[in-house]
Symmetry: C2
Subunit: 305 residues, 2 copies
Protein backbone atom coordinates (compact mmCIF):
# COMPACT_ATOMS: atom_id res chain seq x y z
CA UNK A 1 0.00 0.00 0.00
CA UNK A 2 1.33 3.41 -0.89
CA UNK A 3 0.45 6.56 0.97
CA UNK A 4 0.51 9.82 -0.96
CA UNK A 5 3.03 12.21 0.60
CA UNK A 6 0.45 15.03 0.33
CA UNK A 7 -1.92 13.09 2.60
CA UNK A 8 0.77 12.47 5.17
CA UNK A 9 1.53 16.19 5.32
CA UNK A 10 -2.19 16.85 5.41
CA UNK A 11 -2.55 14.51 8.38
CA UNK A 12 0.44 15.68 10.34
CA UNK A 13 -0.49 19.32 9.95
CA UNK A 14 -4.05 18.72 11.16
CA UNK A 15 -2.69 17.00 14.27
CA UNK A 16 -0.03 19.62 14.88
CA UNK A 17 -2.54 22.45 14.46
CA UNK A 18 -4.99 20.82 16.86
CA UNK A 19 -2.26 20.38 19.46
CA UNK A 20 -1.13 23.99 19.06
CA UNK A 21 -4.73 25.24 19.27
CA UNK A 22 -5.15 23.41 22.58
CA UNK A 23 -1.97 24.85 24.07
CA UNK A 24 -2.74 28.37 22.91
CA UNK A 25 -6.30 28.11 24.19
CA UNK A 26 -4.99 27.11 27.63
CA UNK A 27 -2.55 30.03 27.65
CA UNK A 28 -5.26 32.49 26.56
CA UNK A 29 -7.51 31.21 29.34
CA UNK A 30 -4.66 31.81 31.79
CA UNK A 31 -3.89 35.30 30.49
CA UNK A 32 -7.54 36.37 30.46
CA UNK A 33 -9.06 34.70 33.52
CA UNK A 34 -12.73 34.86 34.38
CA UNK A 35 -13.63 37.76 36.67
CA UNK A 36 -16.47 37.47 39.11
CA UNK A 37 -18.04 40.02 41.38
CA UNK A 38 -16.29 43.03 39.86
CA UNK A 39 -18.39 45.64 38.12
CA UNK A 40 -16.40 45.26 34.90
CA UNK A 41 -17.11 41.50 34.73
CA UNK A 42 -19.34 41.86 31.61
CA UNK A 43 -16.37 43.32 29.71
CA UNK A 44 -14.13 40.39 30.57
CA UNK A 45 -16.96 37.99 29.76
CA UNK A 46 -17.29 39.55 26.28
CA UNK A 47 -13.52 39.39 25.75
CA UNK A 48 -13.50 35.71 26.69
CA UNK A 49 -16.62 34.97 24.63
CA UNK A 50 -14.97 36.28 21.49
CA UNK A 51 -11.50 34.88 21.97
CA UNK A 52 -11.82 31.51 23.69
CA UNK A 53 -13.38 28.27 22.47
CA UNK A 54 -13.00 28.46 18.74
CA UNK A 55 -10.98 29.42 15.74
CA UNK A 56 -8.26 27.58 13.85
CA UNK A 57 -5.50 29.43 15.76
CA UNK A 58 -3.65 29.57 12.47
CA UNK A 59 -1.66 32.67 13.45
CA UNK A 60 -0.33 31.21 16.73
CA UNK A 61 0.56 28.03 14.83
CA UNK A 62 2.75 30.05 12.48
CA UNK A 63 4.35 31.80 15.47
CA UNK A 64 5.17 28.46 17.09
CA UNK A 65 6.57 26.99 13.89
CA UNK A 66 8.66 30.08 13.24
CA UNK A 67 9.95 30.00 16.83
CA UNK A 68 11.07 26.36 16.61
CA UNK A 69 13.20 27.19 13.55
CA UNK A 70 15.31 29.32 15.92
CA UNK A 71 15.21 27.03 18.93
CA UNK A 72 13.10 29.51 20.89
CA UNK A 73 11.55 28.23 24.15
CA UNK A 74 8.01 27.10 23.20
CA UNK A 75 6.66 28.70 26.39
CA UNK A 76 7.72 32.11 25.03
CA UNK A 77 6.27 31.33 21.63
CA UNK A 78 2.91 30.30 23.06
CA UNK A 79 2.60 33.65 24.87
CA UNK A 80 3.40 35.49 21.63
CA UNK A 81 0.87 33.27 19.84
CA UNK A 82 -1.77 34.12 22.45
CA UNK A 83 -1.04 37.84 22.05
CA UNK A 84 -1.43 37.62 18.27
CA UNK A 85 -4.68 35.70 18.63
CA UNK A 86 -6.10 38.28 21.08
CA UNK A 87 -5.20 40.96 18.52
CA UNK A 88 -6.85 38.95 15.74
CA UNK A 89 -10.00 38.43 17.84
CA UNK A 90 -10.25 42.15 18.59
CA UNK A 91 -10.18 42.87 14.85
CA UNK A 92 -12.95 40.32 14.24
CA UNK A 93 -15.16 41.91 16.92
CA UNK A 94 -14.74 45.38 15.45
CA UNK A 95 -15.09 44.17 11.83
CA UNK A 96 -18.43 42.55 12.70
CA UNK A 97 -19.93 45.77 14.16
CA UNK A 98 -23.03 47.23 12.47
CA UNK A 99 -21.05 50.28 11.30
CA UNK A 100 -18.48 47.97 9.67
CA UNK A 101 -19.36 44.60 8.05
CA UNK A 102 -22.56 44.28 10.13
CA UNK A 103 -22.16 40.55 10.63
CA UNK A 104 -24.37 38.65 13.09
CA UNK A 105 -22.46 35.39 13.03
CA UNK A 106 -18.85 34.51 13.85
CA UNK A 107 -17.34 31.06 14.32
CA UNK A 108 -20.88 29.69 14.26
CA UNK A 109 -22.01 31.82 17.23
CA UNK A 110 -23.68 35.23 17.48
CA UNK A 111 -21.04 37.91 16.97
CA UNK A 112 -19.96 39.88 20.05
CA UNK A 113 -22.34 42.84 19.61
CA UNK A 114 -25.25 40.42 19.07
CA UNK A 115 -24.44 38.37 22.17
CA UNK A 116 -23.78 41.48 24.33
CA UNK A 117 -24.32 44.93 22.86
CA UNK A 118 -22.44 47.36 20.64
CA UNK A 119 -20.82 49.35 23.44
CA UNK A 120 -19.55 46.19 25.13
CA UNK A 121 -18.24 44.86 21.81
CA UNK A 122 -16.33 48.08 21.05
CA UNK A 123 -14.75 48.05 24.53
CA UNK A 124 -14.00 44.31 24.41
CA UNK A 125 -12.06 44.87 21.18
CA UNK A 126 -10.24 47.85 22.65
CA UNK A 127 -9.22 45.93 25.76
CA UNK A 128 -8.09 42.88 23.76
CA UNK A 129 -5.75 45.10 21.76
CA UNK A 130 -4.23 46.53 24.95
CA UNK A 131 -3.90 43.02 26.39
CA UNK A 132 -1.94 41.83 23.35
CA UNK A 133 0.71 44.51 23.88
CA UNK A 134 0.77 43.95 27.64
CA UNK A 135 1.60 40.28 27.06
CA UNK A 136 4.36 41.00 24.52
CA UNK A 137 6.05 43.55 26.79
CA UNK A 138 6.00 41.24 29.82
CA UNK A 139 9.36 39.78 30.95
CA UNK A 140 7.69 36.34 31.08
CA UNK A 141 7.35 36.46 27.29
CA UNK A 142 11.06 36.91 26.60
CA UNK A 143 14.08 37.42 28.83
CA UNK A 144 15.59 40.00 26.46
CA UNK A 145 13.88 43.41 26.62
CA UNK A 146 15.16 44.29 23.14
CA UNK A 147 13.26 41.32 21.70
CA UNK A 148 10.16 42.33 23.67
CA UNK A 149 10.30 45.90 22.35
CA UNK A 150 10.81 44.65 18.81
CA UNK A 151 7.80 42.34 19.14
CA UNK A 152 5.67 45.27 20.33
CA UNK A 153 6.86 47.55 17.53
CA UNK A 154 6.36 44.89 14.86
CA UNK A 155 2.87 43.96 16.06
CA UNK A 156 1.84 47.61 16.41
CA UNK A 157 2.97 48.29 12.86
CA UNK A 158 1.20 45.18 11.54
CA UNK A 159 -2.04 46.01 13.38
CA UNK A 160 -2.13 49.79 12.96
CA UNK A 161 -2.79 52.31 10.22
CA UNK A 162 -0.05 50.95 7.93
CA UNK A 163 -1.33 47.40 8.38
CA UNK A 164 -4.54 45.72 9.47
CA UNK A 165 -6.56 48.82 10.43
CA UNK A 166 -5.52 50.73 7.31
CA UNK A 167 -6.43 47.69 5.22
CA UNK A 168 -9.85 47.45 6.85
CA UNK A 169 -10.41 51.14 6.05
CA UNK A 170 -9.62 50.56 2.37
CA UNK A 171 -11.77 47.42 2.43
CA UNK A 172 -14.78 49.46 3.58
CA UNK A 173 -14.13 52.06 0.90
CA UNK A 174 -13.84 49.24 -1.68
CA UNK A 175 -17.60 48.76 -1.51
CA UNK A 176 -18.14 52.13 -3.17
CA UNK A 177 -15.04 52.34 -5.34
CA UNK A 178 -13.50 50.48 -8.28
CA UNK A 179 -10.22 48.83 -7.30
CA UNK A 180 -7.82 47.23 -9.77
CA UNK A 181 -5.86 44.08 -8.95
CA UNK A 182 -2.87 46.10 -7.70
CA UNK A 183 -5.03 48.05 -5.28
CA UNK A 184 -6.75 44.87 -4.05
CA UNK A 185 -3.36 43.24 -3.50
CA UNK A 186 -2.12 46.22 -1.48
CA UNK A 187 -5.33 46.28 0.57
CA UNK A 188 -5.11 42.58 1.39
CA UNK A 189 -1.41 42.74 2.15
CA UNK A 190 -2.26 45.39 4.75
CA UNK A 191 -5.48 43.84 6.06
CA UNK A 192 -4.35 40.23 6.55
CA UNK A 193 -0.84 39.88 5.13
CA UNK A 194 1.00 42.09 7.58
CA UNK A 195 -0.28 40.11 10.57
CA UNK A 196 0.91 36.88 8.91
CA UNK A 197 4.26 38.56 8.33
CA UNK A 198 4.45 39.39 12.02
CA UNK A 199 3.70 35.75 12.90
CA UNK A 200 6.19 34.29 10.43
CA UNK A 201 9.01 36.62 11.45
CA UNK A 202 8.29 36.54 15.20
CA UNK A 203 10.59 33.53 15.62
CA UNK A 204 13.41 35.48 14.00
CA UNK A 205 12.76 38.39 16.38
CA UNK A 206 12.75 36.09 19.42
CA UNK A 207 15.74 34.08 18.18
CA UNK A 208 17.79 36.87 16.61
CA UNK A 209 17.60 35.66 13.02
CA UNK A 210 19.90 36.78 10.24
CA UNK A 211 18.82 39.19 7.53
CA UNK A 212 18.57 36.31 5.07
CA UNK A 213 16.29 34.41 7.43
CA UNK A 214 14.06 37.45 7.94
CA UNK A 215 13.91 37.90 4.20
CA UNK A 216 12.89 34.27 3.60
CA UNK A 217 10.18 34.39 6.28
CA UNK A 218 8.92 37.67 4.82
CA UNK A 219 8.60 36.18 1.34
CA UNK A 220 6.86 33.15 2.80
CA UNK A 221 4.37 35.32 4.69
CA UNK A 222 3.60 37.53 1.71
CA UNK A 223 2.68 34.53 -0.44
CA UNK A 224 0.83 32.85 2.40
CA UNK A 225 -1.17 35.97 3.26
CA UNK A 226 -2.39 36.55 -0.29
CA UNK A 227 -3.13 32.86 -0.82
CA UNK A 228 -5.10 32.86 2.44
CA UNK A 229 -7.10 35.90 1.37
CA UNK A 230 -7.93 34.56 -2.07
CA UNK A 231 -9.11 31.33 -0.40
CA UNK A 232 -11.19 33.49 1.95
CA UNK A 233 -12.78 35.29 -0.98
CA UNK A 234 -13.48 31.92 -2.64
CA UNK A 235 -15.11 30.62 0.56
CA UNK A 236 -17.32 33.71 0.64
CA UNK A 237 -18.10 33.13 -3.05
CA UNK A 238 -18.97 29.42 -2.99
CA UNK A 239 -18.48 28.17 0.61
CA UNK A 240 -21.24 27.03 2.94
CA UNK A 241 -22.26 28.95 6.07
CA UNK A 242 -22.33 25.71 8.09
CA UNK A 243 -18.65 25.17 7.22
CA UNK A 244 -17.34 28.72 7.56
CA UNK A 245 -19.38 29.62 10.68
CA UNK A 246 -20.13 33.05 9.23
CA UNK A 247 -22.48 34.35 6.52
CA UNK A 248 -21.25 33.70 2.95
CA UNK A 249 -22.05 35.53 -0.28
CA UNK A 250 -21.43 38.87 1.41
CA UNK A 251 -18.96 40.24 -1.15
CA UNK A 252 -21.26 39.73 -4.13
CA UNK A 253 -24.17 41.21 -2.13
CA UNK A 254 -22.20 44.34 -1.24
CA UNK A 255 -20.58 44.61 -4.67
CA UNK A 256 -17.14 44.61 -3.06
CA UNK A 257 -14.08 44.36 -5.30
CA UNK A 258 -12.22 41.14 -4.38
CA UNK A 259 -9.72 38.79 -6.01
CA UNK A 260 -12.65 36.61 -7.10
CA UNK A 261 -14.74 39.43 -8.56
CA UNK A 262 -11.71 40.75 -10.43
CA UNK A 263 -9.98 37.54 -11.59
CA UNK A 264 -13.00 35.22 -11.69
CA UNK A 265 -13.12 32.08 -9.49
CA UNK A 266 -10.97 29.85 -11.71
CA UNK A 267 -8.07 32.20 -12.16
CA UNK A 268 -8.31 33.14 -8.47
CA UNK A 269 -8.06 29.46 -7.49
CA UNK A 270 -5.05 29.00 -9.76
CA UNK A 271 -3.40 32.13 -8.35
CA UNK A 272 -3.93 30.97 -4.76
CA UNK A 273 -2.23 27.62 -5.53
CA UNK A 274 0.70 29.37 -7.21
CA UNK A 275 1.20 31.77 -4.28
CA UNK A 276 0.99 28.90 -1.84
CA UNK A 277 3.71 26.99 -3.72
CA UNK A 278 5.92 30.07 -3.91
CA UNK A 279 5.47 30.61 -0.18
CA UNK A 280 6.65 27.08 0.53
CA UNK A 281 9.64 27.45 -1.78
CA UNK A 282 10.81 30.56 0.05
CA UNK A 283 11.64 28.27 2.98
CA UNK A 284 13.38 25.56 0.93
CA UNK A 285 16.84 26.18 2.35
CA UNK A 286 15.56 25.33 5.84
CA UNK A 287 14.73 21.80 4.73
CA UNK A 288 12.74 19.51 7.00
CA UNK A 289 12.40 21.87 10.03
CA UNK A 290 10.20 24.16 7.91
CA UNK A 291 7.96 21.32 6.70
CA UNK A 292 4.96 22.33 8.78
CA UNK A 293 5.23 25.97 7.67
CA UNK A 294 5.21 24.72 4.07
CA UNK A 295 2.22 22.53 4.94
CA UNK A 296 0.40 25.59 6.32
CA UNK A 297 0.74 27.23 2.93
CA UNK A 298 -1.04 24.20 1.39
CA UNK A 299 -3.58 24.13 4.18
CA UNK A 300 -4.77 27.72 3.74
CA UNK A 301 -5.77 27.16 0.12
CA UNK A 302 -7.41 23.78 0.73
CA UNK A 303 -9.45 24.60 3.85
CA UNK A 304 -13.23 24.72 3.87
CA UNK A 305 -13.56 27.19 6.74
Amino acid sequence: MTIEPMNLVGKSIAGAMAECAEQVERMMDLLLPKVEGNAEAPLVEAMRYSSLGGGKRLRPFIVLQSAQLFGVDPRCAIRVGAAVEFMHCYSLIHDDLPAMDNSDLRRGKPSCHKQFDEATAILAGDALQALAFQILASPETHADAIARSELVMALARAAGMEGMTGGQMIDLLAETRELNIGAITRLQRMKTGDMFTFCATSGAIMGRGTERQFHALNSYAQGLGLAFQIADDLLDFDGKEQDTGKPTGQDVKSGKATFVSTLGPERARFQARLLSEQAGQALDFWGEPAALLRAVACFVVNRDR
Copy 2:
Protein backbone atom coordinates in the same frame (compact mmCIF):
# COMPACT_ATOMS: atom_id res chain seq x y z
CA MET B 1 2.48 95.97 45.19
CA THR B 2 2.18 92.38 46.40
CA ILE B 3 1.45 89.47 44.12
CA GLU B 4 -0.36 86.51 45.62
CA PRO B 5 1.81 83.40 45.33
CA MET B 6 -1.26 81.51 44.06
CA ASN B 7 -1.48 83.89 41.11
CA LEU B 8 2.18 83.51 40.32
CA VAL B 9 1.82 79.77 40.25
CA GLY B 10 -1.37 80.19 38.25
CA LYS B 11 0.51 82.25 35.68
CA SER B 12 3.59 80.15 35.44
CA ILE B 13 1.60 76.97 35.03
CA ALA B 14 -0.51 78.47 32.25
CA GLY B 15 2.66 79.47 30.42
CA ALA B 16 4.39 76.15 31.02
CA MET B 17 1.33 74.20 29.89
CA ALA B 18 1.00 76.27 26.73
CA GLU B 19 4.67 75.70 25.91
CA CYS B 20 4.37 71.97 26.54
CA ALA B 21 1.18 71.78 24.43
CA GLU B 22 3.02 73.38 21.52
CA GLN B 23 5.97 70.98 21.74
CA VAL B 24 3.74 67.93 22.07
CA GLU B 25 1.57 69.08 19.19
CA ARG B 26 4.66 69.39 16.98
CA MET B 27 5.81 65.90 17.96
CA MET B 28 2.35 64.42 17.33
CA ASP B 29 2.28 66.06 13.91
CA LEU B 30 5.68 64.49 13.18
CA LEU B 31 4.64 61.03 14.42
CA LEU B 32 1.34 61.06 12.51
CA PRO B 33 2.13 62.85 9.25
CA LYS B 34 -0.47 63.68 6.63
CA VAL B 35 -0.87 60.99 3.98
CA GLU B 36 -1.88 61.88 0.48
CA GLY B 37 -2.73 59.72 -2.48
CA ASN B 38 -2.92 56.47 -0.52
CA ALA B 39 -6.26 54.71 -0.28
CA GLU B 40 -6.15 54.76 3.54
CA ALA B 41 -5.74 58.58 3.62
CA PRO B 42 -9.25 59.11 5.14
CA LEU B 43 -8.21 57.02 8.16
CA VAL B 44 -5.11 59.10 8.78
CA GLU B 45 -7.14 62.27 8.24
CA ALA B 46 -9.62 61.16 10.93
CA MET B 47 -6.76 60.27 13.31
CA ARG B 48 -5.22 63.71 12.79
CA TYR B 49 -8.59 65.46 13.06
CA SER B 50 -9.21 63.98 16.49
CA SER B 51 -5.74 64.29 17.93
CA LEU B 52 -4.16 67.46 16.55
CA GLY B 53 -5.11 71.11 17.08
CA GLY B 54 -6.77 71.11 20.44
CA GLY B 55 -6.90 69.86 23.98
CA LYS B 56 -5.12 70.98 27.11
CA ARG B 57 -2.43 68.28 26.71
CA LEU B 58 -2.62 67.86 30.47
CA ARG B 59 -1.39 64.26 30.39
CA PRO B 60 1.77 65.01 28.36
CA PHE B 61 2.44 67.93 30.69
CA ILE B 62 2.46 65.59 33.68
CA VAL B 63 4.77 63.21 31.77
CA LEU B 64 7.21 66.05 31.05
CA GLN B 65 7.15 67.32 34.62
CA SER B 66 7.64 63.80 35.99
CA ALA B 67 10.53 63.23 33.58
CA GLN B 68 12.37 66.40 34.61
CA LEU B 69 12.32 65.24 38.26
CA PHE B 70 14.62 62.42 37.12
CA GLY B 71 16.73 64.40 34.66
CA VAL B 72 15.30 62.48 31.71
CA ASP B 73 16.03 63.88 28.24
CA PRO B 74 12.98 66.05 27.36
CA ARG B 75 13.05 64.65 23.80
CA CYS B 76 12.25 61.21 25.23
CA ALA B 77 9.57 62.62 27.49
CA ILE B 78 7.86 64.46 24.64
CA ARG B 79 7.57 61.21 22.67
CA VAL B 80 6.05 59.48 25.70
CA GLY B 81 3.72 62.47 26.13
CA ALA B 82 2.64 62.21 22.49
CA ALA B 83 1.97 58.47 22.91
CA VAL B 84 -0.20 59.10 25.98
CA GLU B 85 -2.11 61.82 24.18
CA PHE B 86 -2.77 59.57 21.16
CA MET B 87 -4.09 56.97 23.60
CA HIS B 88 -6.27 59.58 25.31
CA CYS B 89 -7.63 60.80 21.96
CA TYR B 90 -8.51 57.25 20.89
CA SER B 91 -10.54 56.87 24.08
CA LEU B 92 -12.39 60.14 23.41
CA ILE B 93 -13.28 59.03 19.86
CA HIS B 94 -14.68 55.71 21.06
CA ASP B 95 -16.44 57.26 24.10
CA ASP B 96 -18.27 59.69 21.79
CA LEU B 97 -19.67 56.93 19.52
CA PRO B 98 -23.47 56.56 19.28
CA ALA B 99 -23.32 53.18 21.05
CA MET B 100 -21.39 54.77 23.95
CA ASP B 101 -21.96 58.37 25.14
CA ASN B 102 -23.42 59.43 21.77
CA SER B 103 -21.77 62.84 21.84
CA ASP B 104 -21.79 65.09 18.75
CA LEU B 105 -19.34 67.67 20.05
CA ARG B 106 -15.72 67.39 21.22
CA ARG B 107 -13.27 70.23 21.85
CA GLY B 108 -15.78 72.57 20.22
CA LYS B 109 -15.81 70.62 16.94
CA PRO B 110 -18.02 67.82 15.61
CA SER B 111 -16.89 64.53 17.17
CA CYS B 112 -15.03 62.09 14.91
CA HIS B 113 -18.02 59.99 13.86
CA LYS B 114 -19.99 63.16 13.04
CA GLN B 115 -17.18 64.64 10.94
CA PHE B 116 -16.43 61.33 9.19
CA ASP B 117 -18.60 58.28 9.90
CA GLU B 118 -18.88 55.61 12.56
CA ALA B 119 -16.71 53.02 10.82
CA THR B 120 -13.93 55.54 10.26
CA ALA B 121 -14.16 56.69 13.88
CA ILE B 122 -13.91 53.15 15.24
CA LEU B 123 -10.87 52.44 13.05
CA ALA B 124 -9.23 55.80 13.83
CA GLY B 125 -9.45 54.98 17.54
CA ASP B 126 -8.08 51.48 16.96
CA ALA B 127 -5.13 52.79 14.95
CA LEU B 128 -4.34 55.53 17.48
CA GLN B 129 -4.09 52.90 20.20
CA ALA B 130 -1.64 50.84 18.13
CA LEU B 131 0.35 53.99 17.32
CA ALA B 132 0.75 54.81 21.03
CA PHE B 133 2.42 51.44 21.70
CA GLN B 134 4.51 51.65 18.54
CA ILE B 135 5.95 54.98 19.74
CA LEU B 136 6.71 53.70 23.26
CA ALA B 137 8.52 50.62 21.96
CA SER B 138 10.67 52.58 19.51
CA PRO B 139 14.40 52.94 20.35
CA GLU B 140 14.08 56.68 19.68
CA THR B 141 11.86 56.96 22.75
CA HIS B 142 14.40 55.53 25.18
CA ALA B 143 17.84 54.01 24.74
CA ASP B 144 17.14 51.30 27.34
CA ALA B 145 14.85 48.53 26.07
CA ILE B 146 13.88 47.60 29.65
CA ALA B 147 12.45 51.10 30.16
CA ARG B 148 10.63 50.85 26.82
CA SER B 149 9.06 47.51 27.73
CA GLU B 150 8.04 48.84 31.13
CA LEU B 151 6.41 51.87 29.52
CA VAL B 152 4.45 49.58 27.19
CA MET B 153 3.34 47.30 30.02
CA ALA B 154 2.34 50.19 32.27
CA LEU B 155 0.38 51.98 29.55
CA ALA B 156 -1.32 48.76 28.45
CA ARG B 157 -2.41 48.08 32.02
CA ALA B 158 -3.61 51.67 32.49
CA ALA B 159 -5.56 51.66 29.22
CA GLY B 160 -6.93 48.11 29.23
CA MET B 161 -9.56 46.11 31.04
CA GLU B 162 -8.12 46.80 34.51
CA GLY B 163 -7.91 50.51 33.76
CA MET B 164 -9.50 52.95 31.33
CA THR B 165 -11.53 50.50 29.24
CA GLY B 166 -12.81 48.63 32.30
CA GLY B 167 -13.76 51.96 33.86
CA GLN B 168 -15.64 53.03 30.76
CA MET B 169 -17.55 49.73 30.87
CA ILE B 170 -18.61 50.36 34.47
CA ASP B 171 -19.45 53.96 33.59
CA LEU B 172 -21.89 52.79 30.92
CA LEU B 173 -23.45 50.33 33.35
CA ALA B 174 -23.73 53.15 35.94
CA GLU B 175 -26.56 54.67 33.92
CA THR B 176 -28.80 51.75 34.80
CA ARG B 177 -27.48 50.83 38.22
CA GLU B 178 -27.13 52.41 41.66
CA LEU B 179 -23.49 52.98 42.62
CA ASN B 180 -22.32 54.00 46.08
CA ILE B 181 -19.43 56.37 46.63
CA GLY B 182 -16.93 53.51 46.91
CA ALA B 183 -18.02 52.06 43.59
CA ILE B 184 -17.89 55.48 41.91
CA THR B 185 -14.39 56.04 43.28
CA ARG B 186 -13.20 52.67 41.95
CA LEU B 187 -14.79 53.35 38.55
CA GLN B 188 -13.14 56.77 38.22
CA ARG B 189 -9.79 55.49 39.42
CA MET B 190 -9.93 53.00 36.56
CA LYS B 191 -11.45 55.29 33.94
CA THR B 192 -9.25 58.37 34.37
CA GLY B 193 -7.01 57.83 37.40
CA ASP B 194 -4.90 54.98 36.04
CA MET B 195 -3.87 56.99 32.98
CA PHE B 196 -2.81 59.87 35.27
CA THR B 197 -0.86 57.36 37.32
CA PHE B 198 0.92 56.22 34.18
CA CYS B 199 1.81 59.84 33.33
CA ALA B 200 3.01 60.72 36.83
CA THR B 201 5.15 57.60 37.19
CA SER B 202 6.48 57.59 33.62
CA GLY B 203 9.42 59.78 34.65
CA ALA B 204 10.36 57.25 37.32
CA ILE B 205 10.19 54.45 34.71
CA MET B 206 12.37 56.40 32.27
CA GLY B 207 14.76 57.58 35.02
CA ARG B 208 14.85 54.43 37.18
CA GLY B 209 13.23 55.96 40.27
CA THR B 210 13.36 54.43 43.74
CA GLU B 211 10.42 52.66 45.33
CA ARG B 212 9.80 55.69 47.55
CA GLN B 213 9.69 57.97 44.51
CA PHE B 214 7.26 55.65 42.70
CA HIS B 215 5.10 55.58 45.80
CA ALA B 216 5.01 59.38 46.08
CA LEU B 217 4.13 59.82 42.41
CA ASN B 218 1.43 57.16 42.78
CA SER B 219 -0.16 58.97 45.72
CA TYR B 220 0.02 62.22 43.82
CA ALA B 221 -1.67 60.72 40.77
CA GLN B 222 -4.43 59.06 42.78
CA GLY B 223 -5.42 62.37 44.39
CA LEU B 224 -5.00 64.28 41.14
CA GLY B 225 -7.09 61.79 39.16
CA LEU B 226 -10.03 61.88 41.54
CA ALA B 227 -9.85 65.68 41.90
CA PHE B 228 -9.81 65.95 38.10
CA GLN B 229 -12.84 63.71 37.78
CA ILE B 230 -14.88 65.52 40.41
CA ALA B 231 -14.08 68.80 38.64
CA ASP B 232 -15.20 67.15 35.39
CA ASP B 233 -18.48 66.11 36.98
CA LEU B 234 -18.92 69.67 38.30
CA LEU B 235 -18.27 71.12 34.83
CA ASP B 236 -20.90 68.79 33.40
CA PHE B 237 -23.23 69.88 36.23
CA ASP B 238 -22.85 73.66 36.02
CA GLY B 239 -20.27 74.42 33.28
CA LYS B 240 -21.02 76.10 29.96
CA GLU B 241 -20.82 74.30 26.63
CA GLN B 242 -18.95 77.25 25.09
CA ASP B 243 -16.22 76.80 27.72
CA THR B 244 -16.01 73.00 27.82
CA GLY B 245 -16.34 72.48 24.05
CA LYS B 246 -18.68 69.53 24.65
CA PRO B 247 -22.32 69.17 25.68
CA THR B 248 -22.96 69.74 29.42
CA GLY B 249 -25.76 68.49 31.66
CA GLN B 250 -25.36 64.98 30.25
CA ASP B 251 -25.02 63.18 33.59
CA VAL B 252 -28.26 64.57 35.02
CA LYS B 253 -30.03 63.82 31.73
CA SER B 254 -28.86 60.20 31.71
CA GLY B 255 -29.37 59.76 35.46
CA LYS B 256 -25.75 58.64 35.80
CA ALA B 257 -24.31 58.18 39.30
CA THR B 258 -21.43 60.65 39.70
CA PHE B 259 -19.53 62.29 42.55
CA VAL B 260 -21.83 65.30 42.18
CA SER B 261 -25.08 63.33 42.15
CA THR B 262 -23.94 61.37 45.19
CA LEU B 263 -22.21 64.02 47.30
CA GLY B 264 -24.06 67.11 46.07
CA PRO B 265 -22.13 69.94 44.36
CA GLU B 266 -20.87 71.64 47.53
CA ARG B 267 -19.39 68.62 49.21
CA ALA B 268 -18.02 67.51 45.84
CA ARG B 269 -16.25 70.85 45.40
CA PHE B 270 -14.82 70.62 48.92
CA GLN B 271 -13.67 67.05 48.30
CA ALA B 272 -11.95 68.03 45.04
CA ARG B 273 -10.00 70.80 46.81
CA LEU B 274 -8.98 68.43 49.59
CA LEU B 275 -7.78 65.76 47.15
CA SER B 276 -5.89 68.35 45.17
CA GLU B 277 -4.08 69.54 48.31
CA GLN B 278 -3.26 66.00 49.35
CA ALA B 279 -1.90 65.31 45.87
CA GLY B 280 0.43 68.29 46.15
CA GLN B 281 1.60 67.26 49.61
CA ALA B 282 2.59 63.81 48.38
CA LEU B 283 5.39 65.51 46.46
CA ASP B 284 6.55 67.77 49.31
CA PHE B 285 9.92 66.07 49.80
CA TRP B 286 10.88 66.98 46.22
CA GLY B 287 10.64 70.67 47.04
CA GLU B 288 10.84 73.24 44.27
CA PRO B 289 11.43 70.86 41.30
CA ALA B 290 7.90 69.46 41.82
CA ALA B 291 6.27 72.91 41.96
CA LEU B 292 4.59 72.62 38.58
CA LEU B 293 3.22 69.16 39.38
CA ARG B 294 1.72 70.66 42.56
CA ALA B 295 0.36 73.53 40.48
CA VAL B 296 -1.29 71.01 38.12
CA ALA B 297 -3.20 69.64 41.08
CA CYS B 298 -4.57 73.16 41.74
CA PHE B 299 -5.20 73.72 38.06
CA VAL B 300 -7.40 70.66 37.55
CA VAL B 301 -9.90 71.78 40.19
CA ASN B 302 -9.95 75.42 39.09
CA ARG B 303 -10.27 74.97 35.31
CA ASP B 304 -13.39 75.94 33.37
CA ARG B 305 -12.90 73.44 30.52
